[in-house]
């Protein structure tokens, strides 16, 4: 494989975007941050352990550090920047703010994506009938060195407390 840059065309947060000169061995994470100007997904462990780089690829959460940029060609990517829309922050984001589930904030984008995914998978179930262990498992791929997770779990409870909130598609407000 040559070191010549690639042309990469994706749908990112609902918009068709093209980047050129993406290095052939770049990860999706690096392409998003360096070539699409989207620094929300964070570069921490680069080995799929911390979850800070979580994005949705065709609606499925992935560690973007473990996806080769070229694999995302022609596919749909949603980053944390795509959670909010013109109407403001998503339900999940508002819940994090309200619960104070953020300290240094580095892991927060990954947590927001994981909770957004849990919210879609919960399909209207509320925290009342969603097993607490299920919530913890959903967050097991995201590491936080500051909060001790309790505030994050409080935020999940808040985000799932209203099952009747409109569930717009991934990419719109959660």
């Amino acid at each position: 494989m040559t070191d010549q840059g690639m042309r990469l065309e994706l749908t990112v947060n609902g918009r068709r975007r093209v980047a050129t000169d993406v290095p052939p061995f770049a990860s999706l994470l690096s392409a998003l941050r360096e070539h699409f100007g989207l620094p929300g997904a964070k570069n921490a462990c680069e080995q799929g352990e911390c979850g800070s780089c979580t994005v949705f690829l065709d609606g499925t959460p992935v560690c973007s550090c473990l996806v080769a940029a070229g694999q995302a060609e022609g596919r749909e990517v949603t980053t944390v920047e795509g959670l909010a829309d013109e109407a403001g922050l998503s339900l999940v984001q508002r819940a994090f703010v309200a619960a104070g589930a953020v300290q240094c904030g580095f892991c927060t984008p990954g947590f927001l994506m994981a909770v957004r995914d849990l919210q879609s998978r919960a399909r209207g179930r509320t925290i009342i009938n969603l097993d607490d262990e299920e919530v913890r498992e959903a967050l097991a791929g995201n590491l936080c060195r500051c909060t001790g997770y309790e505030k994050v779990i409080d935020a999940v409870r808040a985000a799932l407390v209203h099952p009747t909130d409109p569930q717009r598609p991934v990419g719109a407000s959660g």
Binding site: E46, Q47, G51, C65, L66, A68, Q71, A140, G141
Partner: protein, 244 residues
């Protein structure tokens, strides 16, 4: 399916799927620079899955996810949802499955007696997962998994009629491993009526499972794996008892 490109290409090739953790980690850390990086997610045939008679068949991690989600493989569903982070693709099966020690579904498939269908440019073969890894030019076409086997969590399968125990260790060796000495020990110590085992025997079982591991040194850090296996093995004994 087109024969794998490796048969026609002389350079170094690494295949990726959207859950190819180990290849990507080595690329991220500049430890590897293959000459080509084909994307197997584009191979439609790998995404097929079906359940015929007593076996389920899938060729891609996402296809296995779909099988698991349809309650066809409850133990796999459990492994998918609780062992791996959702952002790692759940089951984590991949094209390089037998060479991928960090695969969370692997112990389960090993214990359940899964068979791997592999294809190379020259031929297609099927071999039990426990018979080892792929030849260098082979790719996995599908994994065939018996359904309806009572598998307890990570790597322990009990055949209650034959009173045989199978184990599978994943993510703690260069290939998946069976803890044979541990299985023989447990088969002798277990009360097959109640599935109870003494505390001392459980502790010994944990040690034997840990001893069977062959952690690989690498960027992902091997040190904790033996201890983790010991804990998991003892915990699994509790789970089989509650599932009895």
């Amino acid at each position: 399916m087109d024969p794998p490109a490796r048969g026609r290409f002389t350079g170094r090739v690494e295949y990726v799927t959207d859950v190819s953790a180990d290849v990507m980690v080595e690329l991220n850390f500049d430890l590897r620079r293959p000459d080509a990086l084909p994307d197997l997610d584009r191979v439609r045939e790998l995404r097929d899955w079906d359940v015929v008679g007593g076996t389920a068949r899938a060729g891609h991690p996402r296809a296995l996810d779909q099988l698991a989600a349809r309650d066809r493989l409850p133990a796999l569903a459990m492994a998918s949802s609780s062992v791996a982070a959702s952002s790692l693709g759940g089951a984590g099966l991949g094209a390089a499955l037998p060479d991928l020690p960090a695969c969370d579904a692997y112990p389960l498939l090993l214990a359940a007696g899964a068979v791997v269908g592999a294809e190379s440019f020259q031929r297609g073969v099927s071999r039990p997962l426990r018979h080892g890894s792929l030849d260098p030019e082979e790719l996995i076409r599908a994994v065939v998994i018996p359904t309806g086997i009572a598998v307890c969590s990570f790597a322990l399968a009990l055949d209650l009629r034959a009173r045989v125990i199978e184990t599978g260790i994943g993510a703690a060796g260069p290939t998946p491993l069976a803890a044979r000495a541990a299985a023989r020990f447990l088969a002798a110590e277990l009360d097959w009526g109640t599935l109870a085992v003494s505390e001392a025997a459980a502790a010994r079982f944990g040690k034997l499972v840990a001893r069977a591991a062959q952690p690989v040194d690498g960027v992902r850090g091997p040190g904790y794996r033996r201890r983790a296996l010991e804990v998991l093995a003892i915990r699994a004994l509790g789970w089989i008892r509650s599932a009895a």
